[in-house]
């Protein structure tokens, strides 16, 4: 028996040695270091957002199984767009082969291999990567992120002097403390709102995810996420920064367990002169979002038909914590379909704007279609409401948004103006939608009716405007501003008598309202009542002496 067993063992041993040899286990030196250095180390090194370095063998060995876990699940490297639905600059993706190599290495107890073969870790330029900026703007004082709590969204004014209009060809954002900053968006405020809000908040900056008056410059989007290279525009596409503008940075920050001071800065690189080409931002999405508590499959769709031929440069899908998936594609006039982006597992924390490796060319008549899905159930771990509650559109992180921003460049620069005109109409429609939504919550909000009336007027739908002007004045009969605006809308359509009636009501409500007197003067003049008109022009000038000269010039012009 014993002999038989021995023989069998010998045969097995022979068989094993004859079978094609199992590939040798990967080693750190030969196989793993190149992957980590290429894909992980840009963030996993001291001074970057990633919580631990992966620069050396010891770093990697002490995370071997964890690396297998997170690369296998797709958690790392963080890159949300699905492959095959658009190719983007700076994709952070591991190949299936790389993931398998990592797995086999960990399984073999993470061998070092021949230490002489370990490649040198890549060298990174710390500080300003594009050289010394032409202008550096920064947070004037540091802000301290508390040790714990929910994610923070805070806006900070960046101090610095812009003495003349500058054209910015590149910028680099430096978070100051990369451990806590997860995402930054830089906006321009020319309204002074950011300064006022900052002054009202005792701490540096002011809370909030956004504020209405901040704008992106000239069709550009200025975003930053960890690991992103400094953003450079194409040479001919610099964006302008005018004196009197405030640059405001919105930071999404995560507490780390200890108080973290942060002081961000922004380096700007000037172009020689104004841009030869100006892109435009197309914004799709809806403001009438209304997701019932518990709804795990709320679908939001929007479409936009391009009025001109464009080149699509960048895409930025945006939802908050209830977002689940993103699908965006273009249907060209010939019926062909081109995917622009697809994200099956939306994660607010890893949102980004994506620049196309090769810009899709989309001819006029192309329909861009977006379909977002939201999950407002318990199953969504990120749900900010425990238990879930109904959520509508809004700028706070507990509200929802469903926006898609596309940066496009008209193929023919002459097409920019008609494109912007078309986009303005589309924007008005979105605004009306959003305000209609607010009306559902409070149907008697006369301010809101007034705002909707004004948007309809701008959009050229006078009849719809009338309905909301009427409702505004029904709810608030002495609303002088609304009377004046309604009068202008009526007079523009030749309904002078009705207009005069509203202007008189405006003056009854607010006798010192110079604009009402002036407009009544114009209306009476048009109706041939010159004497009465003259009295109202005089009253308007008396009420606003600083405008008197301008009013008299207008009147003189009318008389000629």
């Amino acid at each position: 028996m014993k002999i038989v067993l021995t023989l069998l063992a010998a045969v097995f041993a022979l068989l094993l040695s004859c079978s094609p040899s199992k590939p040798a286990s990967p080693t750190y030196a030969r196989d793993i270091a190149p992957i980590l250095h290429r894909e992980c180390v840009p963030c996993h090194r001291p001074g970057e957002l990633a919580p631990f370095p992966l620069l050396t063998y010891d770093d990697a060995r002490k995370r071997a199984r964890q690396i297998v876990q997170v690369t296998g699940s797709g958690f790392m490297p963080p890159w949300k767009p699905e492959p095959g639905f658009g190719t983007f600059v700076g994709e952070r993706r591991l190949s299936a082969g790389d993931i398998e190599t990592l797995r086999r290495w960990a399984e073999a107890e993470a061998p070092l291999g021949d230490s002489t073969l370990v490649p040198e870790p890549p060298v990174f330029t710390d500080g300003w990567r594009l050289g010394e900026p032409d202008l550096v703007l920064g947070m004037p004082e540091s802000y301290t992120v508390p040790a714990e709590g929910v994610d923070l969204f805070r806006n900070f004014l960046l101090a610095g002097v812009i003495d003349e209009t500058r054209y910015i060809r590149a910028f680099q954002f430096r978070p100051g403390n990369p451990k806590v900053v997860h995402h930054a968006v830089i906006m321009i405020d020319q309204s002074g709102t950011a300064r006022r809000r900052d002054a009202l908040d005792a701490e540096p900056g002011f809370a909030g995810m956004s504020f209405g008056e901040a704008r992106e410059p000239d069709g550009h989007f200025l975003g930053w996420t960890p690991g992103k290279a400094p953003a450079q525009s194409r040479d001919e596409m610099a964006w302008s920064l005018r004196p009197g503008s405030d640059l405001v940075v919105l930071l999404h920050m995560l507490p780390t367990g200890k108080p973290e001071p942060i002081q961000a800065s922004l380096g700007l690189y000037f172009a020689a002169g104004p841009p030869a080409r100006v892109p435009a931002s197309i914004r799709l999405g809806r403001k009438d979002i209304d997701i019932a508590a518990g709804d795990d499959n709320y679908v939001l769709e929007d479409r936009y038909v391009l009025p001109v031929d464009v080149e699509l440069l960048r895409i930025y899908p945006h939802m908050h914590y209830l977002g689940k998936s993103v699908q965006v594609y273009a249907t060209k006039p010939d019926g062909s379909k081109q995917w622009l982006i697809r994200i099956d597992d939306w994660d607010f924390n890893w949102q980004d704007d994506y620049q196309y490796e090769e810009s899709p060319r989309l001819p006029a008549g192309t329909e861009i279609y977006m379909r977002y899905v939201f999950d407002n159930s318990w199953a969504n771990v990120f749900n900010p409401n425990i238990p879930p509650k109904a959520v509508t559109y809004g700028l706070r992180s507990a509200d929802e948004m469903g926006d898609l921003i596309l940066q496009v460049l008209p193929e023919d620069p002459k097409d920019l103006a008609p494109l912007l005109q078309d986009l303005h109409h589309q924007w008005l429609a979105q605004e009306i939608q959003g305000h209609q939504m607010l009306l559902r919550a409070d149907p008697e909000d006369f301010e809101n009716h007034h705002t909707i009336a004004m948007y309809h007027l701008q959009a050229g739908s006078a009849d719809s405007a009338d309905v909301h002007f009427e409702r505004t004045l029904q709810l608030h009969p002495t609303y002088a501003e609304a009377h004046v605006n309604y009068a202008a809308a009526l007079a523009a359509r030749g309904r002078l008598a009705a207009g005069i009636d509203h202007l008189e009501q405006a003056i009854d409500s607010r006798p010192g309202f110079s604009k009402a007197h002036f407009n009544l003067g114009l209306a009476l003049h048009a109706a041939g009542q010159r004497v009465k008109a003259g009295q109202h022009f005089e009253e308007a000038a008396r009420l606003r002496p600083e405008m008197a000269a301008a009013i008299r010039r207008t009147v003189a012009g009318l008389r000629r």
Partner: protein
């Protein structure tokens, strides 16, 4: 032959008895070997952490609150660092940085890790009268790596400590802890 078998048997029994007496131990920051299971205390809680695990670091304020609230009620809390590369200095530095004043132990040979079978940092083990009654998360804030709720809906460790404080010996409970794998540290 019979004699030899008997001798081997005796030796095995002695080994077993010896290993039963040998309670798992770890090193305190002064280099003394400590056996943290004090049966005189109502409960001993071990919280496994490392200095470079972002999830255990995010729990630092909660860990300190646990110490402040349950320490005076006779519960003993230890932070256990299973990374053999840590030193008393690096741990003291970490404690200062994260405002932690909790007794800390180095477990380079994973005696405590293996004893309670902890797998990730952070995770908590509660021992009452020498018996493990809880192993798992501090609370359920993390559902997965990178997936944290706005706030925890279950305070699992507190539930166990409250039960012990009320004089109960809760039945053994396991919950899923999310964090950095301890197995990599060996």
């Amino acid at each position: 032959m019979r004699k030899r078998t008997a001798f081997v048997g005796l030796f095995m029994a002695a080994m077993a008895a010896c290993s039963q007496q040998q309670e798992p131990s770890a090193l305190d920051l002064d280099g003394h070997r400590v056996t943290p299971f004090d049966v005189a205390m109502p409960a001993t809680t071990l919280i496994f952490v490392r200095t470079d695990c972002p999830i255990s670091n995010r729990y630092a304020p909660e860990i300190q609150r646990l110490q402040d609230e349950y320490g005076p009620r006779g519960m003993r809390l230890f932070l256990v660092y299973p990374d053999g590369d840590e030193t008393p200095e690096s741990i003291r530095r970490h404690a200062t940085e994260y405002s932690l004043s909790v007794e800390s132990l180095l477990d380079p040979d994973h005696e405590l890790v293996d004893h309670v079978q902890a797998t990730v940092t952070p995770s908590a083990a509660v021992i009452v009268a020498g018996q493990l009654v809880y192993l798992g998360h501090i609370d359920n804030r993390y559902d997965d790596l990178g997936k944290a709720r706005a706030a925890a809906s279950r305070q699992s460790l507190r539930e166990v400590l409250d039960a012990v404080a009320a004089g109960q010996v809760p039945p053994l409970r396991h919950t899923r802890a999310v964090g950095c794998l301890i197995a990599d540290l060996k």
